[in-house]
């Protein structure tokens, strides 16, 4: 497609953007409700301790119900008229910078609304039970509500600035929630790490927005997309890469993936909601939302795909080596989001597939995390899977729902992961030439590895020897595994049902792809793939089966040591060290940074420091000295006034007559 044609096509799309009326006129309520909840809980303080969690749940449930209403309101419309805008208020109506706060109601944003509020509501309910012993439960709900509100701003905003506002908002909420147990140093450090690495990405996003505003004078989606063709190819590439940098930061993609596993220090519902189902997928949303820009820049898309493929492999490999139940799930999240990024990087052939995988992943990964939380709840907050084993009998509901999620994620035929992940693998193989082989191969390999580490996880946790019987937890208590209360299991069951059915519902009859068409354009089927269409599912299933079998052979058949073996092969060691991501970060950035710093210290002491300190000293010293001019004597004040007047009059006369 040439640039011109693309611009015309998007222009045509822009022309169809209608104003929201009817029930959609109150779409701001979606955001206002959780925001109100957060405000009440934060301002009300301890007074709301008794009922705060109920309010927190109620606002999100109401938001979800209203979101559902909006969804049906939209499905009633013609597909061409499903993109609607709602001006809420004009925020800064000055001169050229017209920052309006508006909402964009289209299939893409509504899909996210349903995901965020739906999964959010379930996790709110789950948290009532999970956090019941925590003194600060009210604050926890306040932050969760804040997160939901910010996330809705992110997905509903109709301009990049509004998106950025929500983007920062979810960053703050995520920071607060990771550090929720701030008395643990690990949690505080993890929060800081998440915040810093996110900042790197945010800078990219911010610069991309500046570039858009500089060249187009607007950040409104409709106008930006309609006029994206005016951008030079260099600017386009820069914008796509910068947006990708933002996406990498938020979604834990290479090279900014290291914060996500650490973020599991937060309470488990947070891991489920923010670091599995919703916030970390914001990067995927960003790329998908900016599809008219990415359409114009094949090079930019290629980088997206490469990053996705790389990350999905990294995540799988590391996931195989970890023994911490939440960290394994976290790396699995990294790798699954890698799939999504890979998909949206494929362009029109993959946008909708990425979103589909995002949705199914939202179900099964949230379910898996809640299951993990339920296991921890029954096991004195233990996370080491080597200390679990044979838990199936003690917590059957948790085990069944967890296993359903497991089957979904490895792509067991018929379950949701099967439909969404296979579609991506197929699309990857659908690329022409070396790309098809490389990306398809990576995706295929990832599927096998996923099967391996997830099987290992399930086997070690729920089956086999009861290794915990002879052990005590770190605080000296014996383990008494038990099933969680129903307020926790019900959300897990609901999510398990979603994990089973969502894929089929979305994929069969192309329901989701058709629904998303007004936002993402039509899905292009690949015709020149490197492998025949029929072959790909077969290969996938074979590889998955191989992965399961390998796991069974490794951990299912023989006793597992409670402490992890130290003498292991190099790949395992590498994987245990997060593939040296932190070391690489250190070697690539921190160490040279330190050298550079040391080299700069010299210059710094002499020059820069001198300049900075000099400025500060100059200001401070100048201030101290100028202060003395304020002598306290009226007459000297009068003198300064007279002097000033003479200067003013003299200057006026000089300007006039000179």
């Amino acid at each position: 497609m040439t640039n011109l044609a693309a611009a015309q096509a998007t222009l045509a799309e822009a022309a169809q953007v209608g104003a929201a009326g009817g029930v959609a006129r109150f779409a701001w309520l979606l955001i206002a409700l959780p925001a109100l909840g957060a405000a009440v809980l934060l301002i009300g303080g301890k007074r709301t301790n008794a009922w705060g969690h109920l309010l927190g749940c109620a606002t999100v449930v109401l938001s979800f119900l209203y979101g559902t209403l909006l969804f049906f309101d939209t499905t009633d419309l013609d597909p061409q008229r499903r993109v609607r805008e709602l001006d809420v208020f004009s925020w800064i109506p000055v001169n050229a910078l017209q920052v309006d706060f508006g909402l964009r109601l289209d299939p893409l944003s509504l899909t996210f609304v349903l995901l965020v509020t739906g999964v959010g509501a379930l996790i709110h309910i789950y948290s009532v039970g999970y956090m019941s012993h925590d003194a600060d439960r009210r604050k926890f709900f306040a932050y969760l509500n804040l997160f939901v509100a910010a996330m809705l701003v992110l997905v509903l905003g109709n301009s990049f600035v509004t998106l950025y506002f929500g983007w920062e908002g979810v960053g703050v909420a995520s920071y607060l929630l990771i550090a929720f147990w701030q008395h643990r140093p690990a949690a505080a450090t993890a929060a800081k790490k998440a915040f810093l690495m996110n900042r790197v990405g945010d800078v990219g996003l911010a610069i991309a927005i500046f570039l858009l505003f500089r060249d187009l004078g607007t950040t409104q989606y409709t106008e930006v997309f309609a006029r994206a063709g005016e951008l030079s190819s260099g600017t386009l590439l820069a914008i796509t890469l910068l947006l990708l940098l933002g996406a990498c930061g938020k979604s834990g993609q290479f090279p900014l993936q290291a914060w996500l596993p650490d973020a599991m220090e937060g309470p488990t519902p947070v891991s489920a909601l923010i670091h599995a189902a919703t916030m970390v997928t914001a990067g995927v949303y960003l790329v998908a939302r900016s599809n008219p820009i990415y359409d114009l820049s094949p090079d930019g898309r290629l980088v997206v795909t490469v990053i996705g493929a790389l990350t999905l492999l990294i995540g799988c490999v590391i996931g195989c080596a970890y023994d911490d139940i939440k960290k394994v799930l976290a790396y699995s999240t990294v790798s699954q989001i890698g799939y999504m990024i890979l998909a949206v990087g494929l362009g029109p052939a993959g946008y909708a597939l990425g979103i589909m995988h995002l949705l199914t992943h939202g179900f099964f990964k949230a379910g898996l995390f809640l299951g993990a939380g339920s296991v921890m709840h029954g096991m004195n907050d233990e996370t080491d899977i080597r200390r679990f084993g044979g838990l199936f009998r003690y917590m059957p509901v948790t085990a069944v729902t967890f296993i359903i999620g497991y089957l979904a994620i490895i792509g067991f035929p018929g379950l949701s992961g099967y439909f969404s992940k296979d579609a991506i693998i197929e699309a990857a193989f659908g690329q022409e030439g070396w790309r098809g082989w490389v990306f398809g191969g990576a995706a295929l390999l990832g599927a096998g590895l996923t099967a391996f580490y997830m099987t290992r996880l399930v086997l070690l946790t729920f089956f086999g020897e009861k290794r915990w019987e002879k052990l005590t937890s770190a605080d000296g208590r014996a383990y008494h595994p038990h099933e969680s209360p129903s307020v926790m299991t019900v959300p897990m069951i609901v999510l398990a049902i979603g994990s089973v059915g969502a894929g089929a519902f979305f994929a069969l009859g192309d329901n989701l792809v058709t629904w998303l068409e007004p936002s993402l354009g039509a899905l292009e089927a690949s015709e020149h793939g490197v492998l025949p269409h029929a072959l790909v599912p077969v290969l996938t299933i074979l590889l998955v089966a191989a992965g399961v079998a390998a796991a069974w052979l490794l951990v299912g058949r023989k006793p597992v040591p409670v402490t992890r073996p130290v003498r292991v092969a190099l790949p395992v060691r590498a994987a245990r060290a997060d593939l040296y991501a932190n070391a690489i970060n250190e070697a690539l950035f921190a160490r040279p940074g330190a050298w550079l710093a040391r080299a700069l210290v010299f210059v710094d002491n002499k020059g820069v420091d001198g300049l900075v300190n000099g400025t500060a000293a100059l200001l401070g010293g100048g201030s101290g000295r100028m202060r003395r001019l304020q002598t306290g004597f009226v007459r000297s004040y009068a003198l300064s006034m007279l002097g000033g007047s003479v200067l003013v009059v003299a200057a006026l006369l000089v300007v006039r007559f000179a």
Partner: protein, 99 residues
């Protein structure tokens, strides 16, 4: 006799008043210097009224006089109160507020 001389005289008086504010220490005298400045302005106004052939300037002088009288009352009240406190009318003595 040209009216310009009156303008010069009034400018001179105004300057003397302004300088007086700067160099005199007694608050009452400082204040009298301000009054001198106001009256110099009155002279200017009246002179301009004469030059321009209108009466506006003269009426404005009335207003200035009234305002000056009100200012005298307020000013003397303030100066008197601080004088009673400090037993000194020197403006240089009140410099607790500084820097």
């Amino acid at each position: 006799m040209t009216p310009t001389y009156y303008l010069l005289l009034s400018a001179l008086l105004f300057t003397i008043g302004a300088v007086g504010v700067l160099i005199r220490r007694n608050a009452i005298v400082v204040f009298m210097c301000v009054e001198l400045m106001l009256n110099a302005v009155n002279l200017t106004l009246v002179t301009f009224a004469r030059i321009n052939g209108g009466l506006d300037g003269q009426v404005m002088a009335f207003f200035v006089m009234v305002v000056a009288a009100a200012e005298v009352v307020v000013g003397l009240a303030i100066i008197m109160s601080i004088f009673r406190t400090r037993r000194s009318a020197s403006v240089d003595d009140s410099n607790l507020l500084k820097y």
